[in-house]
Amino acid sequence: MTPSSADYDYIRRLVQDHSAIMLEAGKEYLLGLRLQGLMTRHGCADIPALVQKLRSDRSGALSREVVEAMTNNETSFFRDLHPFETLRKVIVPELIRRRAAERTLDIWCGASSSGQEIYSVALTLREHFPELVNWRLNIVSTDLSREMVQRGRDGRYSQIEVNRGLPAMLLVKYFERSGMDYYVKPDIRRMVDFRELNLNGPWSGVPSRLDIVFMRNVLIYFEDAVKRRILAKVHDLLRPDGYLFLGGSETTLNLEDRLEQVQLERTRCFRRRH
């Protein structure tokens, strides 16, 4: 059943206040899809019952759960493939040359969800660039959701998840099976520092200068003022020869003119305008 507009508005405001993520009008059906499990856990028969419970949620715990469930966690290993090809063929070789003296790379994934994206970056570095073994790799992955951050730290994935985009050769080399799940091996897990972070709040823990930023398919959920704020901060942290990856439908155009688009192979990246 589609929720009433008052209930939808209540949840929409809640999500926006806690995450700055905008839920569009016409997406009312998402409430049922995303919140079903949570409603069952909390004994709510329907959305009105959940909203009633939220209104008296003094601790904020239920509100937080709803925000986490409503923010999009769709992800897969090597999602869209070509950004990782570009990373491997163009960007990392170039940065290895440019950073040969300092032997440091700072990488941030700003919406890591359950960790597949940043592990895809880590696996690319480990598999194709053995020369980086003696470098200082500072790889930070952040997400709004505490649950997602923990999932990333655990590096535990279901069969359905390792089926998605992960080359079988990398599965057997860098994962181990326990029970029904597959775990990222500890030496890869140790490469990534997972942290909780709201992109619309203070950015504590984000490296102060960045060589590579992955922020794919997250800006689409923010209103323009928030997008501008985020992109301005990315610009300030990005090194002059660093690269920003956005989602396929995302751009900096009319939002942050100090970042310019560059086409590398099949991938659109963004750099500081010189």
Partner: protein, 123 residues
Amino acid sequence: MGKRALVIDDSRAMRRVIANILTERGFEVLEAENGQVALDQLEANPGIEVALVDWNMPVMNGYDFIKAVRAQPKYARLTMMMVTTETEMSQVVRALAAGANEYVMKPFTADALVEKLELLGLL
């Protein structure tokens, strides 16, 4: 004409599921119910570019099929993807060592199959 794929599975329903996913992406699909029939199909249809191979089948299983294909240099360019209920890591290792190029575990989503085809450069 699209790329030619050979779907090898003793379950007719599973062959249909996979064939539908491939056909929607422009593949021309041939089918075989076991490894032996698949070898005959390969012989009769030299243009096949990719084989999607179940593991457990009567007459000739998928693992033996892959070994048989890799023993013949004329099929060196054939891409093979195991699509199976075998989910133990040791089985994935065996399949890759025998010559499989990719591995998909059942049950799978259409997205999972398509992403593996992209990894193999077939889409």
